[in-house]
Structures are given as C-alpha cells and as structure tokens.
Symmetry: D2
Subunit: 420 residues, 4 copies
C-alpha cells in the first residue's frame, strides 16, 4: 500500500485554481435513484492528477471517499480483457457507442449483445465474465484488480451496497434480459449482485487518478510500478472509453475535451491522456446525462487551457534529426551521418530516414546512424531503421550504428523486414 504524497508547485496551483473557478457552479442534482447516494455532500469537490512518473498532484477534497459506481466499468473491463482476450469478450459485449442513455434496455439486434461495456447492460455482462467458481471468488478478483489499479487495498461501502441491492430493479431487468438472450454467462441474480458490490467499492479522487494513470501508462501503475494489465489491454480500454465512455454525450466530449473518460453516478469523473497522465474529479451534483457538472466543466477547461486534446498532439515540427555529409576523397568515400535526438517512433524514424532518399551517399559510401542523443526507439521505429540499414547494405553502402543499444534491443527473428 502506498500513501500518495501530493507534490506542491505550479501544477498543484493550476488544479487549485481550477477548483476555485468551478466551485461556485451550483447546477445539477444528486443522484437519487440509489437513496444512499442522495446523502452526499454537494459541496465536496476534489481533483487529482498523476503523471507517468507517478507524480501525484491534487487539490480540494481529493481524499474524500465515495463509491466508485460506473467509474469501475473500464477497470473491470480491463480485468475481463486480461483474463479472456478481446475476441472472447466481444462475443458477449460489443464495442460500439449506443447513442443511448446509461441504463438503456437495448441489445444489438443481430447478436443480442449489449452495445458496449460502458453502459450498465454491458458492464453487468463484463462482471459476469470475470472467472471464479463462487461469487466470493469472482468479486475477490474484482476487488483485487481495482486495488492494484489504485495501488492500495480498497474496500466496499456496505451501506451503499445494501441501498443499491434494494433499489436495483432496472439492473436486475438487464441481467435477466441478457440471460434470456443468451448473452450472460452464469446466474443473472448473482451477476447483478456482484455488480452492485463492484459499484460500491470505496475510492477517492486521488485513487481514481492513479487508476486512470495506470491505463494511460500502458497498464503499469506509475506509483507502485506494478504491471496491472498489458499495454494491449490498456489501449483497448482507452479506445472504448473514447468512443463510449460518456454515454450519449460521448461525441460531444471527444470533440470538446478530447480525452478518453468515464463518469459515475456518485460524482466521479476520470480522463486519461495516453502516455501523459490520469486525472480524476469528484463532485456529486450531476447533469441530465448523469455526469458530474463541475467535473465536466473542470476537465473541459483544463483540456483547453493545457492543450490536452487528443487530436492536438504536441507538434514536433523542429527538425530533430538532420543528415550531415562528411566528404571523403571521392564519392565512394563519402560519409553521411544521421544523428537522432529525442524519442524515435514511426514518425520520427520516417523523418530521420527521409534525408537518405535524396541525399544518401553513392555506392561504396558510408552511412552512420548516430543514436547517441536519442532518448529511446520504439519497436516499430526500430524495425524501420533496421530495414533501412539492410536496404543500404544491399545496395553497396557500408552502414554503422553509434549508440544503438535501443535499436539492437528489439532485434528479433525477421526483424529486418516489416513483416516481423
């Protein structure tokens, strides 16, 4: 278990300023269909941000516990994907936005599947997919998984659980509907009971920021360093959050905020900047879509203010690479040096290699790939660079690599071709 130590500084200042700006916003109303949730303090307002290095920033009541509710959905979906794989999970739960409200009674016409794992029907099916021979074992896996995402042991708010169980007839309807359509594994009563327990797990905004940062960080909890799910699963979950996470306002959210997100009826709202950060807001009053009013306003403002929109990737126009020609005694003696700076992905590798296309040495010449100042090479770029070197060798140039540990590291069978 980890205790977060919030970091003071300008990021914290920015979060505090955000709270100050939106605290006066007094719209929305508390969820009342679960009576226990109507007891929340509408003035609770907290925000937390966790970076890929595990830096934790927070402001306001980011340590107030509340039940996770629908914010649990992406994390339990991640658990199901980890255990069963995407193909098996999508046999039971779709991946399309439904255009419907969160508790819509609709299954896909042809398949009988719920549209996606972010609406209640899909979340109940997802919960039922978690392996386990008893309900206790199944819920044990879920609680353990949520805890590993959070980096500390979470527990259940038994009062809220009891309240949900008493008033959850619509979710029971969904479970029986799925069961009758053959798209719910196991017993429907048990599935919905486990789902109620899952929704009643107690978290703080700080927890949710760590959990979401773990998804953004390719599945590795940036605070504890634990690999909770694979990169593949983390990417899949973020993609489904991007298209379906905000129910029937998902398109508008992706347009205006531009981050994969998920909200819950207790006032939690999380958003991920892939490879950048996880962020969470807690403020109980909800809008008509069931999203936290202050949470939506704060994240929208934050995204605009700090350029976090997914479609507004940091532009890297400055030439981070440039070929240098070292003239020899003749063309065959010429040396072209390609020096890379920063991290090399597909885009950077393309940029690096582009110079060779029109300015490479003549046959007999030499190409030096200097990776000394490169901070890293991703496997996709490595594959491209190795192919380029092989191509040069094949056409009579000599090649060498300086500082190329990153490049060598990923070399595997067939790594000279694109097919590898």
């Amino acid at each position: 278990m980890v205790t977060y130590r919030p970091t003071p500084g300008v990021v914290t200042d920015a979060l505090a300023e955000l709270l100050e700006r939106f605290a006066p916003l007094r719209e929305g109303s508390l969820a009342d269909y679960i009576p226990q949730l109507a007891l929340a303090d509408p003035d609770d307002f907290g925000i937390a941000l966790v970076s890929m290095e595990g830096h934790c920033y927070q402001a306001g009541r980011a340590d107030v516990p509340f039940t996770v509710q629908s914010v649990s959905k992406p994390f339990v979906y991640a658990l199901a994907l980890s255990r069963l794989g995407l193909e098996e999970v999508t046999r039971w739960v779709g991946t399309e936005p439904s255009g419907d409200v969160f508790n819509a009674i609709s299954l896909e016409p042809r398949t009988g599947r719920p549209a996606n794992a972010m609406i209640n029907a899909g979340a109940i099916a997802t919960t039922a997919l978690v392996p386990g021979t008893t309900p206790e074992e199944r819920f044990g896996h879920i609680l353990d998984c949520l805890s590993r995402f959070a980096g500390r042991c979470l527990d259940v708010d038994e009062d809220v659980y009891a309240s949900e169980a008493r008033t959850g007839d619509r979710n029971r309807a969904l479970a029986f509907l799925l069961s009758s359509a053959g798209t719910l594994p196991g017993d429907p009563s048990e599935a919905v009971d486990t789902y109620f327990r899952q929704c009643s797990v107690r978290v703080t905004a700080a927890d949710l920021a760590v959990m979401t940062a773990t998804l953004a960080n390719s599945g590795v909890n940036p605070v504890t360093g634990e690999t909770v799910v694979s990169e593949e699963v983390a990417v899949q979950v973020l993609a489904v959050m991007a298209s379906c996470g905000m129910y029937d306002a998902s398109g508008d959210w992706l347009l205006r905020v531009g981050l994969p997100a998920k909200s819950g009826v207790s006032g939690g709202l999380v958003a991920a900047g892939p490879a950048r950060f996880g962020i969470a807001v807690f403020s109980p009053p909800l809008d008509v879509h069931g999203n936290s009013v202050r949470g939506v306003a704060a994240l929208r403002d934050l995204s605009e203010r700090f350029g976090l929109h997914l479609m507004r990737r940091p532009v890297q126009l400055a030439p981070t690479v440039a070929p240098t020609v070292v003239p020899g005694t003749g063309p065959a003696d010429e040396e072209v040096r390609l020096a890379a700076r920063g991290f090399l992905d597909f885009t950077a590798a393309e940029r690096l290699l582009h110079g060779l296309a029109h300015g490479g040495p003549e046959s007999g010449g030499r190409v030096v790939l200097d990776l000394t100042d490169a901070t890293g090479v991703d496997p996709f770029a490595a594959r491209l660079l190795r192919a380029a070197l092989a191509r040069l060798e094949g056409s009579g140039r000599r090649t060498s690599v300086v500082g190329g540990e990153a490049l060598a590291r990923d070399a595997g069978p067939g790594s000279a071709g694109f097919s590898g």
Copy 2:
C-alpha cells in the same frame, strides 16, 4: 498546383508490401446504387502516405482518379466550421455517433438535427451551410476548399454527377426531411444538387493523403504550406471523424485501428495520425458497412505494424530532463540547473518542473532553466514554465533562462498565470 514526387525508401517499401499482402483479398462488392460507380475496376488498389514535412510516399494505383463521395464530408465540414464556427454549425448538425447506417433517416428527437456531419443527412445540411448567394458560388467555395486541402485544382466527374442526380432519391428525401424539420438552411433541391456535385469531385489516393495530412497538420497543407483551416477547426474535424467517421462501425474502428478516419462509397478511405501523417487507400470493393474491404484491412494492419494507434502514444519514459545541482559556498548560493531535451508540452513541462518540488535551492539560491537542447515549447508548456519561474522569484530565488526564445515567444498579457 503541385506534382507529388513520391519518395523511394523503406516507407515506400512498407506501403508496397502492404499492397502485396492485401491485393489477393477478393471480398466485397462494388457500390451499385449509383450506376456509374458499378463501372469501377475492382482490382484498382493504391495507397499513399504524407508526413507533416510534406514527404509523400505511395504504392500501387495511387494516381487513379475516382470520385471523392463521402470522403468529402470532413473537408466540407471543416469549411463550414471555418466560416461559421462550431456553435453555429452545431445548431444545425449534431456531433454524436448515431449508431446508424450512413443513409439513416433519423433526426435527433429533441432538436430535429442530423446526428453528425459524417452521415448523409448531416453532410447535406453541412453543404447547405456553406455561404454563397447562388448555387454556383456555394459549390465554387466547396471545390476551392477541397482543392486547397489537396494542393491542386480538382474538378468534377460529370458522368458520376449525372448518375447520382438520377438515382439520388434517398438523399432528396433527407433534404426535404431536414427542410420540413427546419434544420436545413435554404432550398432542399439546391442543397442536394450541390451535395451531388461535391460527391462527384475527382481525386486520387495521393490527393486524399495530402488532404488528410492537412487535417493532421493542424490545418496547414504540409506540401504547399498553405493554412487551409485553423488548428481549432482541424482538431474539431478529427474528433468528429474519430467518433463518427466509420458509421456504425466507428467504435470497432477506434478500438482496433485507433485513428480518425472516413470512408466513401467509391472505395476511398482516409485516416489521420494527428501531428504525424495523413494516409489514404483506394480500393472499390466494399463490405456490408460500405467501407473499402482492402482499405480497412490495410489500415488495420498498418496501424498494428507501426504502432499508430492513438491510445498507444510513443512512450517517453526516458528522463529527458534532470536537475543538476551546482553547490555554492552556502545554501543561498546554490544553483539548480534544469536542462530540457526534446519538445516541451504540458507533460514534459510537468516532468521538468517536478524536480524542483523536492530538490529546489533554498531561498537566495538560483534556478537556471536551460532550454538549449529543447526542440520547442508549446504555448501550454510555456505558460506553466513562466508560472514556475514567477513562483520561484516570489519565494526569493533568482531565476534565469538559457536558450529560451521559444519560451519568450509566447509570452503575452497575463502569461504568468494559468488563466491567460
């Protein structure tokens, strides 16, 4: 007008390899609801990729002309957004995925708007929003805009236009429906006629790659250097493509390919890597969703092979920044030097500043921000860095910046606060 000069090399090799892999795929069938489209050669198969530096790569029949059809939608949407702004355009056309097929007869229950600009109803409304006192003037703006996205003068395939006009009763139905709902400005017959002309504009895969690269490049055509639309508009269009571009398969596409995209009934398919590339495939046979069979297969493969998924941002875990402490004669004399490498966005700025939180000099000490090796600073990061320096000065440290042109460049009124 520009003639693209495809660049040989490993990227071209990769594209050629892709064509080879999927050319044998003989599924799907030609669109037949526009008779002229049924005359296409099912074996035509081309692909093109354009980088942010305007590097053009292509393979196969990337120079075969075909009509742009629905691939025109994001670009005309960009035109409408440029002229009228998001708020006015969303009064007429929504931004939510509809979960429906491309030519769905459905308007939003409360507003009467079409769900989004990527389905036919929304595209017709978008076309009608383009200013112009005559149909000719309106279409002139559209053709000019598409041409500037492509970097060359495009024209209309009059045979296809005539064929569409003869068989376009469903689109006429949509136009009259919108008109009767009060969600179509102007005359419905004229709107649909202009839309038919827009769909009949002739392009090549190479054109489409440049057009899409322009969206990915914040609205600047990377080949011609012309700013076609603002960064804001480009971001908005990419976001709507991400959530709605692939009709009722949009969620699955975002999950498995992870790139904003748009397909057309003539076999065109484009995808954008924001700040990275634009890509286009052309292959006429379509699947049941109306998407190019080979196009979908090729882009899915390319995304996996080169790690292009939006949620799989190049991980930059290597510490690109590190504080160095230069001890002085006493604490008040100490100097902490923060040296940045690479491009600084919000995330990198946070990382850079984090060191100060626990390891900054005591009061009286000195902080040097060394941006010599930084390749750039985005305005959001600049704002954060300036705030941090102001905070340090305010607490009695001395600060200085080395190589900070990028930082200074964005400084404006109130730029020391986050609110600027």
Copy 3:
C-alpha cells in the same frame, strides 16, 4: 348531383343536442403547418349522419365546405383496392398499425413498405397506385371516385392546394424516401403533387357522412344507389380504418368509441357503423394527436349514448325461431316445423337448426322450413340451411321449404356443401 334533404325528428334532435353539449369545448388549436388551414373559423361545428336507407340527418354547420385532407385516405385506398386488388396493393402498402404519428418517417424494416394507408407515407403510395397515363388522368380518377362516394361533383380548393404545395417538404421527403426504397410506383414529385390536390378536395360534413355511409353500406351509396366499390373492398377499408385510422390513438379509439374512423387535419372526422350508418363531424381545433377535439368528444358521447360500439352488437337473445311438432299417426308421419323470423345470418341459421339436433322427427318424418316471416337470408346462412336439408333427406326425412325465395336465390353449383 343530389341535394341532401335533412330529415327532422328525434335523430336530428339528438345531433343538435350533441352540438349544444360540445360547442362550449374550447380546447385544441388550428393546424398551422399548412398556412391556409390556420385561417379556419374555430367555431365552425357541424355533424351529419346518413343511414343505410339514405336518410340524412344533420345539425350545425354541416354544409360549410372545407378541404378533406386525410379523410380522403380511406376513399382513395378503396379506389386503389378496386383497381388493383388487395394482394397488389399490399405489395406496396402494409396493413398494420404503426404506433406512430401521422407523418412518421418509417418504413417496415423488411419490406420497405409504409405501415398502412392511413399514415401519410402509405397514403402517398396509395395515390401513386391509382392508374393513369398522366397526372391529370390519375387525379381525374381520384376526384371522380370521391365525388361518387359523396354523390355529387366535388372540386379543389386551389388556395389550400397552393399552400400545401409550398409547405409540403415533409410529404416530399416521404415520397422520395419511398421512391428510393422502391416502394413508390412512378415519379415521386408527381405523386406528392397529386396527393396535395387530393387533400385539397372540398367537402362538407354532410358529404363526408354520405361518403362514409357508402363504406358502411357495402360500397353502395345509400343516397344515389350507385355501387361505388364492391362489398369486399368496403369491408377491407373499414377494417384498416378500425386498426389504423386514428394514428397512434387507434387502440384507445377502438376501445372507447368502437367504430372504424378517420380524421383529418382540417377538422373533419368520420366514423362508420357497418351496415348501420356513416357519420361525420367538422370542427377545426385539433388535439395533440391531430384529431378534432370536438369531433372526438362528440363521437365518443354518441357511441356511448346510442350503443354504437362495434363490440356491443344488438343482442338478439329472444328466440326468433322455434320448432313446432305436428304429431302424425306414427313417428314416421310426424312433422317438425321450423319457422324463422327476422334476418337469417350464420348465427340465426345455427339457432334455427339447433332444434333439429335433439328434436328432429324420426326417419320417414317430415321437416318444414318456414321462411315466410324471415326478412332475408344471407348467402352464408342459405348454404348452411341447404346443407341441413340435404342431410335430413340423406337420412330418410322428407323436407320442404315455405316462403323460401331467399334461400333458392343463392343456390348455385355445389351449394349443398360448405365448400361452395
């Protein structure tokens, strides 16, 4: 052309009393989507009833002309059925209630047909089915047919027609939608224009009562005596009016009023008592379903007050028939006399014959069927009676019929069996 001569007396008194009761009802509002209709006088209120003998009763402004609008639908449907037959017409237009509003944009999922001929989409398709080589010829047939239903030459209100043509984009949308789905014969623009003319035909409440009485009277205009459509067609039209005539309030109407009916946006409302009467009300203010407020209230009251509900058939419990035994010298000489009173349908014939089952004469005895006091025998009952007589003869009884012209009249080939 006929001039109706309203008949004074208690029926007229009852209608006048009805007007007096509901004239003060000031709810509802004038249709405004056709501007010309908004000019109607909201105080116009008339009612007319026509019996199967052509007796015409009326009260209030039953002679004020107004445009027929949707009340034309059942009559043009009758025309199409007459010309093409039910099987051909149902290839294009369904017969199920849609549960939708009158101008719903919905076609049947599998067939692409409109749900029924009483909603606009189905009515436009029906109009297009009317044979004719030119639009003028087709509309000529329609106007002629409506006139024969009314028993006088009707004409078109050209101002309303022009107003509809200017504002009818939703109907145009429907026509193009049908055309694109392949469920509209001919040109959509022409079909919708003819439909606008059809809706603009001018009628009075008195006309509509005669028209509806013609449907109730098996297709024979009870005033002129002309057979306008066959009994089969009249039955079909009444059945579709019963299930679909009142749009999304059809079920409630059948429950509470219990008569096949049709309403129009100009304030007309007709209802039929099969083999009993046709009735029409005219009062322009409409409720949210688009039905005349006073019309609905008046017909509901009338139905309750006079027991007109279709499910409340006049009970005929009194034994209209009774076997009489005339003893002979022995059993073989016994005569059983079956004397019928009133009109004989299946039900009455069954009742008549039932006595024979347990009380018929022994073999050699005699059965006399006395139809002297019967007012008529329908062909279905005649078939049953003939079969019974044949059965008696077959088992050794002698039979004879007194006053059996009605029985003989329908005797045809194979008329002794039920299969005839």
Copy 4:
C-alpha cells in the same frame, strides 16, 4: 361444473370439414423456449364453437388438455377491469397496439407503461393488479375467474409451470423493468411467478370456446348462465383483443379475419363474434409470429366461408318496418300505425321513426307504435322511441304503444330525453 355435450348437425359437419381441410398443413414448429411445450403432439388439432344460447359444437381433439399460456391474457385483463375499472387499469397498462413482438422490451416513452395487456409486459402488470394479500390469494382469484369463464374448475399443469419458472428470464426481465419504471404494483418476482402459474392453467379447445363465448355474450357464460364480468368489461376486452390480440399481425388479422382474437404459444387460438359466438382452435405448430399455423388458416377460412367478418354485419336491407295509414273521418282523426319486426337497436329505431318525418298524421291525429312482432328493444332504441312519442304528444298528436313491454321495461328517470 358442466360437461359439454357437443351437438351433431351441419355446424359440426362444417367444423369437421374445416379440420379435414387444414390437417394436412404441416408448416410451423413447436414453441421450444419452454422445454415442456416442445413435447406437444404436432398432430393434435381440435376446434370448438359455442353460441350465445350455449350450443356447443366441436370437432377433432377439442378435449385434449393443454396450457392456456397467452390466451389467459384477455380473461385476466377482464378480471382486473372488473375489480379496478378501466381508468385505474389504464394507469398501469396502455391500450395501443405496439407493432412489436409478443415479448418486446418496450414501455411507452412518456408513461413507462407497457403498450397493452396482450403483450407479455402488459400481461404481467395486469396479473400484478389482481387484488390479493398473498400470492396464493391472488392466484386463487385468477384460477377462479378462468374457471368461471370456462364453466368448470380448471387446474395447473405443474410440469409446465416448473418448466416456465426455470426458463422465464425474459419475463423476469420485464417484471423488474416494470418495477424499476414504477409501473408494476407489488413485488416483481412474485408477479412473474403468478404469471407463470396463470400461463400453466390447463384448458381444452372446448373450454376456450366457452370462455370466449362468455366475452362475446356480454360477460354471461352462455353454458352456465353465470354473469362472469359486466357487459362493459366484456366490450372493453373484445376491443383490445381486436386492436392488439395478434401482436404485430393484428392489423392483417382484423383485415382478413375480422374478429377479436388471441393466440397462445401452446397452440391455442380464440376468436369472438360479438353477440354471436366464441370459437377456439388448438394446434401446436406455430408460425413466425407465434400464432398457431392451422388455427390461423382455419379461422380465416371459417370467417370467409360464413361471413363472420366484423365489418360485414348481416345486411338488413329488407324493410322490417312500415307505417300504415288508417284514414279517419278527417285529418285529425287519421291514425298512422308503425309496426316493428325483429330486434330494435338504434338503427332499426331510426328506420322505424323515419316514416313519421314525412308521413305523420296531422295535429289531432293518432300514432300507434306496434311492437307485437318485435323480438326486443335495446335501451338505446327505447330511449329514441320514447323521445319520439313525447315529441308527437308535444305537437298535439295522440300516441299509444301496443306490445310495448320491452319499451316500458327500460323507462327510467329522464328517459324521455337523450341525456338519460
């Protein structure tokens, strides 16, 4: 308890002929979603008809017991209407055709009610409306009511009940959905269990014919003579059967067969001829709508062959009434005699009175209403006749009635006016 004694004769012959005609029809398949139903004998085929006098006709396996399933719906609806009245019942269950399949998961948008009591959701709500302090008491009322409709004590098939309870998740889903929408009184688990028991009540085709004849006979069981429900309730149930009884084929059924009807998944199908007969067919194989294949074919044929269509009321064109003028010594002495034959409803009364309008005696003359040969006068007609007599007296004529017991019988306070 009553033992039906089927009556031989031509009606029985007609039913036997019907069975013979459709027995070879080997389409459709057994319901399999309740495993026990899949054990039915697909060759079982029986038919029964009961007249308003309680005459019972049957052919084939009309005494084979099977579970009533959805055919119970109209009868339990009648029970709920009897206990609570139409206004209270329609607060919970609508009266509109849904256009949906029998087990549709859809509630009315605004009210959250199920569309009608003939689909499963509405039937479950109806069952829950039956008063009772315990589940046993509630089911006791239901079984008692069904038994009184049938005229004998019915019981439950415990095997089918157990089978339904095991596999009824879709119905459970409906119950929980209703409960969550606030449109199910009481506990959802209990409601659905009671519904399963109700569906498992064992009947024969002969039973169902008596039950349906009771509805057709204004609520009076024609065999036992017991008044099971009021005429008002019987009319209401028949109307809802007419518009909603055959699920999404209700419109086609009303068009082609023209009788209120209800089918069940075990192969039962009933139809009512109001004031004429109840009929039931049993044949297990079902079509895609869930209706008995042979049942539908047989009833359609029967309706055509015997003219039973509701819109094809027996035509009574023969003048059953005629005024006779008995000249006196002067006009003031003239006597006009109106002699009625047959049963007098609104229509016949109008016909009778019409003669007076143009041919009544002058003031001082005398009108004699001769009802000697009338078989009955319904209260609506009586009211009209009394009003006419009062009108004549008011204008100086003398009036008298001969054989007018029926007329007098209904005279009550205010009976001289229409408002009574």
